[in-house]
């Protein structure tokens, strides 16, 4: 158990240090997210009454799409630099590699999501500075990263990596998307635990089930 955590932590620290120095993924993904939010302004009439209805939806469409972009890079960077084999040969279990990669992916996604708060506030007058929304976003992002890290390990080894990830990822995380949008709806409406609690518990249950399943499946995915 201690080795598992130490291995995972080492890989997490490596990824975060790399990202802190290059800022490659965050800058590209954030720019993409801002463009999506901007385009949404023309996809519908951004008046307050309409934003109240479609607001949670656009937030999560932006988050999911940018998340996919970021997750595609989780293993693609390692593979392009030829460090993937080294990572897998490192004297840590594959579960540690999975946990470390999951944590770094989730962290990067959360940073981008937080950076988008002011963008949504300015463009759509959509106030996401709300503790319930933050909890929903945290739970949902962990769910996305859990499933996405596993599938990106599959996608990176295929000829069609950028296309395959969303194809596998989106149908499986559909319940998280439904839960996140509905939870956000309730959070913005100011319903508190009464409205958000059900969805929050639902997403956390999803996270727990898929965290166990993904840790188990990761070995089968990596096997040559």
């Amino acid at each position: 158990m201690r080795n598992y955590l130490r291995g995972a932590l080492a890989i997490y620290a490596k990824d975060i240090r790399l990202e802190a120095r290059t800022k490659e993924t965050i800058s590209a993904v954030l720019a993409f997210a801002i463009i999506i939010a901007f385009i949404f302004g023309f996809a519908f009439d951004p008046s307050p009454t309409i934003v109240a209805v479609v607001g949670p939806g656009i937030v999560w469409v932006a988050y999911v799409f940018t998340g996919i972009l970021g997750m595609n890079r989780t293993f693609a960077l390692e593979r392009d630099r030829g460090t993937l084999d080294g990572l897998l040969l490192a004297p840590v279990s594959h579960e540690s590699v999975y946990a470390g990669k999951l944590a770094s992916t989730a962290t990067i996604m959360l940073v981008v999501e937080a950076a988008l708060f002011p963008v949504f506030l300015v463009l759509f007058d959509l106030n996401l500075f709300n503790v319930w929304f933050v909890l929903v976003a945290l739970a949902a992002t962990i769910g996305f990263a859990t499933v996405g890290t596993l599938f990106s390990a599959i996608a990176v080894h295929t000829r069609a990596r950028e296309v395959l990830l969303p194809l596998l990822f989106l149908p499986i995380v559909l319940p998280v998307i439904i839960g996140a949008v509905s939870g956000t709806d309730a959070a913005i409406a100011g319903d508190g635990w009464d409205g958000v609690g059900k969805w929050l518990q639902f997403i956390v249950a999803f996270d727990a089930v898929f965290l166990m399943l993904s840790s188990w499946a990761f070995d089968f995915v990596l096997e040559e």
Binding site: L150, L168, P171, K198, F206, V221
Partner: protein, 238 residues
């Protein structure tokens, strides 16, 4: 199950498959006679003649779900046992299931339009069917893009197992979501009661679709088994 038959992980023999095909064809012809001759014309509320598509829609949706279950079960067994027959079962089941789900979705839309004035109803069953259809497509594309058959088999098995694990979550989320948006979800639920002739026809249709699924799985499994033998022979020659 067809592909589980026989020693040395061989698929079902040619004679067995022809017999299965013959029986399935007979059952399907009888089913058509029942649907258009025996089953009574539905009440106004069910949409009169167009309601007969019900005998295609409901069985194909149910058999589609079963095909997903078979594919996920075959995938689990493959990851545990690592024998080709389980992978062939999972793969063939995914292919047959994709076709049968397509039938279910298409007939559902054709039926919903005249009865509920909308092609698509966002209820839990429809959402789950559509989601599993997408997972199957992802399953088949994963196999197509995999560098080797073995890796494709393992990855696809993981996809099928993840899909199966997501089923209760998708169903619950879609159900709650539909409850919140009732004004946009009109339709099923109040579909009227079934007369007994209708019920028997439905059960028979379910059996007919079950045979269709079994034929497709048996044929595809046998083809894959032959493919694998050809590949082995090719390597021996080379």
């Amino acid at each position: 199950m067809p592909s589980a038959a026989g020693p040395r992980s061989r698929a079902m023999g040619l004679g067995g498959r022809q017999l299965l095909l013959g029986v399935a064809a007979l059952v399907f012809i009888i089913d058509l006679v029942l649907i258009f001759g025996y089953a009574p014309t539905a009440s106004e509320a069910l949409g009169v003649q167009v309601q007969r598509i019900f005998y295609f829609h409901v069985p194909s949706a149910i058999v589609g779900m079963i095909s997903f279950g078979v594919s996920a079960f075959g995938s689990v067994m493959y990851l545990i046992k690592r024998t080709r027959k389980w992978d062939r079962l999972a793969w063939a089941s995914a292919e047959a299931g994709t076709i049968i789900f397509t039938v279910a979705i298409a007939t559902g839309a054709i039926w919903a339009k005249p009865v509920w004035q909308t092609w698509w109803v966002w209820d839990a069953n429809g959402t789950l069917t559509f989601m599993l259809w997408l997972v199957f497509i992802g399953y088949l594309i994963t196999r197509a893009y995999a560098p080797t058959v073995d890796r494709g088999a393992r990855w696809a098995a993981v996809v099928a197992i993840f899909g199966a694990a997501a089923v209760p979550f998708v169903y619950m989320a879609a159900d709650w979501w539909a409850g919140l948006h009732t004004e946009r979800v009109t339709g099923p639920g109040a579909s009227g009661s079934l007369e007994s002739e209708m019920f028997y026809t439905l059960i028979f249709s379910l059996v007919a679709f079950g045979f269709l699924f079994a034929v497709l799985v048996a044929e595809r499994s046998a083809q894959r088994a032959i493919d694998e033998q050809v590949e082995i022979l090719r390597r021996e020659v080379a």
